[in-house]
Symmetry: C2
Subunit: 249 residues, 2 copies
């Protein structure tokens, strides 16, 4: 089992470089979390001004993606990292692509919030959106926590939460369809609501992707596309004490 | 201007490694193009079996992503590439993430095609979907061509086409809304159509992302998030003969 931690690095300057870039990722993550929170607040409260703030705020998310990407490239060029160090840099480069796209989804929600600001909102649908928004924000926070603590078990747990998020999403879609059928004049507006809800659901998907990069870094195994059960099995295998490889699988 | 081509590489084995991985990307791209074509055909013709084939075919797209990613990691570890070579490896690693997500969108369309197979389809909307599908497939092909020929001008041209794709997408959405308002019983089905159309629109976005990676590799400049006009200006600058830097900007 090639399991790695940050203590393994070879030079002090390298440690410092990696620590800097990890800090940057966490602060980009914090910004993205705030963007989601503001976007959902803007949507639920019908606050068009806050929606516009979110749209403008995406520029900073984009700037951070490029900064971190350049930092990763610089580390690859200067340090030519190997094994776990190399995997960490690759995992970071991929993580920030998903973080940036989470930012894009928040921006879309902000935009929809501005469209919908003057529209009378069906209370119960928006309460459910608030709950869904809180859950996807928790997913982002949890997966960044897992990233910070190099905790692959928690990272897989995030993927498990995505199933709940998908169920909540389906419930809201069904409710929106009911509204539209009852009053076809609401169709145009309800579609905007649906696009926003869809954006929340995609944030869940991106968080799951980030969770997979954490597992790739910590376990040295690519667990993309293998499904949740197989992912959990892989992690469990690596947690088992050595010599126990023949245990029931 | 740090403009690079493949002739610049230092060792023959390295050239061969890079050539192999470029070939893999192009063949992954060919597969993804076919998936889009089949998915749109399945949707337009109401061919549920073909839709299922597309869903199953996504496994191969996923497998190729992991294979190419591993190849990139191997090149980084063994060769510690610098400058343009390093940028090429990074551009490839990012390109295949977008190709894989294009594959996911094709899979979604295949799934919707299967749902909608038995549903009577409004002819004119589906003709427009066929056109949109052809256009996004052309975008994918053109951007992979630009990638193969290291042609940043064509890569920017792809981003320009995305504006046309977005307009076509908006037109279909408006038409679907009209159908839904005229006959609210169609709402549920028309939403499935809308999700499929949305997936096509996203394929356009992913192609634009790939175009930006091509520019990043060829020009050594990160042109993400700067907008089309600024992108074209950057490319134009690098095409200008040296000593002409004071020309009107």
């Amino acid at each position: 089992m090639e399991k790695v931690g940050l203590e393994k690095h070879t030079s002090k300057q390298f440690d410092a470089d990696l620590e800097d870039v990890r800090e940057l990722v966490l602060s980009m993550g914090g910004l993205v979390e705030q963007q989601i929170a503001d976007a959902v607040r803007a949507l639920v409260d019908g606050d068009g001004g806050l929606g516009e703030d979110v749209v403008r705020g995406d520029t900073e998310v984009n700037r951070m993606e490029i900064e971190i990407d350049e930092e990763c490239t610089r580390i690859l060029a200067r340090r030519a990292p190997q094994a776990g160090d190399l995997r960490l840099v690759i995992a970071i480069a991929k993580t920030i692509t998903d973080l940036e796209r989470i930012g894009d989804e928040a921006e879309k929600i902000g935009r929809m919030a501005t469209h919908l600001a003057s529209y009378e909102r069906p209370k119960s649908a928006f309460r459910q959106i608030e709950t869904l928004g809180r859950h996807v924000r928790e997913m982002v926070r949890d997966v960044l926590d897992a990233f910070a603590r190099l905790d692959s078990e928690s990272a897989v747990h995030v993927a498990r939460n995505d199933e709940e998020v998908d169920r909540e999403y389906e419930g809201i879609v069904r409710q929106c369809i009911t509204y539209m059928m009852e009053d076809p004049r609401t169709i145009r507006h309800m579609l905007d609501v649906l696009w926003a809800v869809k954006a929340l659901e995609r944030i869940g998907d991106h968080s799951t992707n980030i969770g997979e990069y954490v597992v790739y870094f910590v376990e040295g195994k690519d667990v993309r596309h293998i499904g949740l059960e197989a992912m959990e099995k892989e992690i469990a295998k690596s947690m088992r004490p050595r010599g126990d490889a023949s245990a029931s699988d």
